[in-house]
């Protein structure tokens, strides 16, 4: 489903964020990307949804080398991905409801269908009562949950989540993780970057460890350390 082949990523300022990274994620897998801050987790995820291009190497998603896509193909790629951003990336001038609905409008769903599904997914993340709030009226955790709802609303075959529990308390984090486990068992491939030791240890899933831009371990049934 997702494959990195000898990927090297230099940023414009000369920072080497990823160094010769290769791995493969099969359909239906649940993969944690772990590692200390600044080690390249977000960069790795950005390469998957093509916010960044690799300096060298190949990134293959769904059998397609995504380093050579036209802009409309990039849009098509992103429509098949649900993305939870580390910095949320909510549209500031739209309410919680509108932010989540936007991801469905892009796909051309009918108003009625949008209403149904957005309502359901906001209920799952526990934000139904904040539907009409704007992002600047929300706490960090609420913004994060809005971002999660938007990523999930289209039932994407692949979910990319960058520290989706970073701003949540333990109870809410677990609720979200339970939900992710459920959609994973229904076949959604999940790649999730996290610092959360308890969650990684309890989930017993595949763990890829990054250190200074290199993969230092890749264990199935892994733990945080």
């Amino acid at each position: 489903m997702i494959e990195f082949r000898n990927v090297i990523k230099y940023y414009g300022n000369g920072v080497l964020a990823l160094e010769d990274v290769s791995f493969k994620v099969e359909k239906g897998e649940f993969v944690f990307i772990v590692g200390p801050t600044g080690m390249g987790k977000t960069t790795l995820l950005k390469l998957i949804y093509r916010e960044e291009l690799p300096t060298k190497g190949k990134v293959i998603v769904g059998g397609v080398d995504i380093t050579r896509l036209r802009s409309y193909q990039v849009a098509l790629l992103r429509r098949r991905l649900g993305i939870v951003f580390q910095d949320f990336r909510l549209l500031p001038n739209r309410t919680v409801y509108e932010n989540v609905a936007f991801a469905m409008e892009v796909l051309g769903y009918s108003k009625k269908e949008i209403r149904n599904r957005v309502g359901r997914v906001l209920d799952i993340v526990g934000l139904l009562h904040k539907s009409n709030c704007y992002p600047n009226e929300l706490s960090g955790g609420e913004q994060q949950r809005t971002s999660i709802a938007r990523a999930l609303v289209n039932n994407p075959p692949i979910l990319i989540a960058d520290e989706p529990t970073g701003n949540l308390d333990i109870a809410t984090s677990w609720e979200i993780m339970e939900f992710l486990k459920r959609i994973n068992s229904r076949g959604t491939t999940i790649v999730m970057a996290t610092h959360n030791k308890e969650i990684v240890n309890a989930m017993r899933q595949r763990v890829i460890g990054l250190y200074n831009g290199r993969i230092v371990r890749d264990e199935y049934n892994g733990s945080y350390e």
Binding site: E51, Y72, L76
Partner: protein, 293 residues
């Protein structure tokens, strides 16, 4: 794209226009201002052009007749001339009339009149043409007609006017083209003011998988709407200026007041359409330059 998208694009464009109110007003104002200037440039160009064309179409060929021409010979000559293609009117000027006009012209100059003394002028025809381009053809046709002593063709003036008109046309077109380029540049920069804060928003939309039309559509339509409102304001101001100009200034320069083909309706329509086009293209240029990939 589904039908839904059109409603979406309209809604989003309107939302953008009304949300960033101050910068929308700025964009509309600048567009209106540029359009008024463009209108004025076009108007002056048209005025000058029409004036030259009017002057040159008034050029006449004068034919001097043999002294002892009989009345019926004169009559048939006049008919022959009238039947030449491109001749609008033939007017008979008897020698007395010509002499009267001559004395009128040199009224202040006693010396000239004294030197000349007796009326030396022959009878003549003044030939008016349909338009200046017939001047060569008609003078060619006159050459072999009997009863004609001499032909006075204002070829020199005609040629000079022709080249003058050509240069005015080229110059005017050039000025207008440059002007259009400059206004596109300025307008795309004004639109930038209103859009730049929203570029991040567009990038987020892209990350969620929105495609070209979805992202660009509302922005381009917003530019078109700015151009539309700017065009309406600009056209109103322009027409008011033209009215005042015609009423208070043009009327004191009789040289210019020869019929111009200015039409307030088509020129307003042109300004509005041009404003919409420039607004749309301005937005598109902006997006092309600032939107990633």
């Amino acid at each position: 794209m589904r039908v839904l998208s059109i409603g979406y694009i309209l809604r989003e464009a309107w939302r953008g226009l009304t949300r960033a109110r101050i910068s929308s007003f700025a964009a509309i104002g600048i567009i209106a201002f540029m359009l008024v200037l463009l209108g004025i440039v076009g108007y002056i160009f048209n005025l000058v052009n029409c004036t030259f064309a009017g002057v040159s179409n008034q050029l006449e060929i004068i034919v001097y007749l043999n002294d002892n021409l009989k009345a019926e010979e004169r009559k048939s000559l006049k008919d022959n001339i009238t039947s030449i293609e491109g001749v609008k009117e033939v007017v008979y000027i008897p020698k007395n009339e010509a002499w009267k006009r001559f004395k009128e012209t040199f009224k202040g100059n006693k010396l000239v009149l004294e030197i000349i003394g007796e009326n030396p002028l022959p009878d003549s025809f003044e030939i008016k043409l349909i338009d200046r381009n017939y001047i060569n053809y008609v003078s060619e046709a006159l050459r072999d007609m009997p009863g004609i002593k001499d032909i006075d063709v204002p070829l020199d003036i005609a040629n000079r006017l022709n080249s003058l008109i050509k240069w005015v046309e080229i110059g005017g077109t050039l000025v207008i083209l440059v002007f259009i380029g400059v206004s596109l540049f300025i307008i795309s920069n004004v639109i930038r003011l209103s859009f730049v804060s929203r570029i991040r928003e567009l990038e987020i939309m892209q990350l969620v998988g929105a495609t070209g039309i979805f992202i660009r559509g509302p922005f381009i339509l917003e530019g078109v709407l700015c151009g539309f409102f700017g065009g309406i304001i600009g056209a109103m101001v322009f027409n008011a200026l033209v009215y005042l100009f015609n009423r208070y200034i043009l009327s004191s320069f009789p040289l210019f007041s020869t019929a111009t083909n200015f039409n307030p309706f088509t020129s307003s329509l042109g300004l509005v359409l041009f404003g919409m086009m420039v607004g749309g293209i301005g937005s598109a240029i902006f997006l092309e330059r600032h939107l990633k990939r």
